[in-house]
């Protein structure tokens, strides 16, 4: 069980390997800053609430799937294209639970953890708008109860 909010990068391989003991499957997801017209991205968060929200999301995943481990790491501060933003990992005896739990962790994190992204572009800086597709992705898990 691990939830971390940090400025520094993380070691995806080491984090995944740490979940292998006792598991039959480990699924990881990594979010990376896209390039294109974005020259940098700054992530702001709500210290205290963020960690509590992530722990709650992880605990919720554990009530829905038999997980031998789960990890959520989210970076904050200014990041450049190509840099890792965050990762989730879910470990279980079998792949289906691990895949589903990893997707659930992502969907809930995007809409229920207090992070905000500001992008720098050639035309200035802009706060990223929340996407309705992210909200509907999170809602479909509620429908599955």
């Amino acid at each position: 069980m691990a939830v971390r909010v940090q400025r520094e990068d993380f070691d995806l391989g080491a984090e995944a390997a740490a979940l292998e003991a006792g598991a039959g499957a480990v699924v990881t997801f990594t979010g990376i800053v896209r390039g294109g017209d974005v020259s940098a991205m700054t992530l702001e968060h709500y210290p205290g609430m963020t960690e509590a929200a992530l722990a709650e999301i992880e605990a919720e995943a554990r009530t829905r799937w038999q997980l031998s481990g789960a990890t959520i790491i989210h970076r904050v501060g200014r990041l450049l294209p190509g840099e890792r933003i965050m990762m989730v990992a879910a470990a279980s005896a079998h792949r289906q639970a691990a895949f589903e739990a990893a997707e659930f962790l992502m969907d809930y994190l995007k809409t229920r953890a207090p992070f905000w992204k500001k992008e720098e572009t050639g035309a200035g800086a802009r706060w990223v708008d929340a996407r309705e597709t992210d909200e509907s992705a999170a809602r479909r898990w509620a429908a599955k109860g």
Partner: protein
Amino acid sequence: MKVLYFAWLRERIGESAEEISAEGLETVADLVAHLRARGPRYEAAFEAPEAVRVAVDQKVRDWDAPLKGAGEVAFFPPMTGG
């Protein structure tokens, strides 16, 4: 109580945190009305209330949530992590 602002609300208001007396404020909506009356920066931050989310003591709540006993109220746009 402590009132916090994040992302573009923080930028528009020009503060990340301040102390506001809860006296006479029953709900989050009362607090928002009180803040909007403080001047154009607040008015600009809350001009589209449907774009603003609120947490009371670090739990997401609705605008009709009571403030009784609240120590910390935070305003922010919809979350965009991940």
